[in-house]
Amino acid sequence: MTADSPILLIVTAVYFAIVLGVAVWGYFHTENEEDFLAAGRSIGPWVGGAVLAATQISAGTFVGTLGRHYLTGVSWIWIWFGLWAGWLVSALLVAPKLRRFGALTVADYVGKRFASEGARTLSAALIILTYTIYLTAQFQAAGEIASAIFGIPPLTAMLALLASTGFYTALGGVRSSSYIEFLQTVIMVLALVLALPVVISHVGGVTALGEYVGSIDPRITGWWFSGRELFAFSMAFGLATAAAPYEMTRYYSMRDVSTVRRAIGISMVIQALIGGSVMILGLGMRGIFPYLPSPDQASSIMASTVMSPLLGSLFLVAMMSAIMSTVNSILLVTGGAFAHDLYKRLVNPAATERRLLLVNRLSIVVLGVVPFWFAMQKFGDVQAIVVEQAKFIASFFFVPVVLGLNWRRGTKEGAIWSMVAGFAGCLVWTFTLQRSFARHGIDSAAVGVALSAITFVLVSRATKPTPAENLRIFFGPEVGPERG
């Protein structure tokens, strides 16, 4: 299959036509900032679950994770339980309180809970910084995939990603993005599940596949990674998931607390389907092509040579969807953080709804261009950037969110210094002792979160408690907008 394959062109054209149509529909149903950033609190459990899954599944899953299963076999699959533990923490301790609060951005929560504009500004700035790095990985992945499969220059592919995703995100906000992500999730699940029988039949069935790849290296069918390594990776992903701003903002868009809980469950089921399929496809590709020059090539070679043109086209659109859905969610969070938390609070507090909508849309475009430049510089490989940003998010945000929502005594000084300590601790450990991780087994995310937690407790104990009216929203009787 080539870039000018008629089937691929038709499948891609239909996909973009639907995406554009939904974005235009969203534009005409967006009248104010609550519509743009929270879809008017109208999202139900099925669309909500698909949104949470689409946000979680990124270029890293289709390229990096599939490649990791290709190289190391089965055992990487167990890190999903770390992610799901993060979702469980969110469902138990974070999501219900955030949804009852019913704000628009994550920094809204920080500002209200800790009665501090300083904490709000710091959290918005850290979110923009970290997610700009995350966006870099997504742009880089788009460039690498297009280059590997079609020989398209990475710059062209990155420009196309920025233009298409930036356009539909800026046009319809969270409302149309949610329905587009539902479509993208359906495409991802369909492509992966339909690919399973094709790949498995190529290698003569599951048992034959296991026997063959096990003969290459027994660790492929057993345990390539030690329990300690799996635990460290799982913990980093789980901590980041429990307090991931791009997931948390989506809770605000759902109808009510019950919808949020069900959406998280549906999202985990979708993730299990996707994760299990990616594992089997990675193993299958090892069976078909045992010695590819790079594991990251497994998914693109599978789409272009193993599958039929129609299924291969669907798989490529699914890869595109994985990247677009993540880019879209990040742009919504960073754009909202800039427009709602920085511009409205610090620059123009008297801004009208019309002006705020415009600034939200412009921020999305501008904040999409910055990581585009970083991606051109290629500072690291895709999977490494995805993992590192997750560790930083966990380090500065897990404690103010999870402890902040469940421990009344936390103060604004505690929140600010815990974010600074967590971020700095993760940064220093990453560039020093992380290199000898194999010896000590202590990951930078664990260090960041531990430092952040200790700082939060000690500083909060030594400073003045948060005013009761701010705490009542999170610890007292249920208040806040809730519909449905």
């Binding site: 089965v74 699959i77 296991g210 096990g214 069918t221 069900r262 998280i264 299990g276």
Partner: protein, 41 residues
């Protein structure tokens, strides 16, 4: 697991994931029912 191609790391994942999902939904539905009863009081 001899004769099945893969070991516990493979089949165990699917079994554990299924148990996890069932327990999660049982909890979520129980909490919904509790909240519903409380709202009706």
């Amino acid at each position: 697991m001899n004769g099945m191609g893969f070991g516990w790391s493979f089949y165990g994942f699917f079994a554990a994931a299924a148990v996890w999902m069932v327990l999660y939904f049982a909890w979520a539905l129980a909490v919904d029912a509790r909240d519903h009863r409380r709202d009706q009081r």
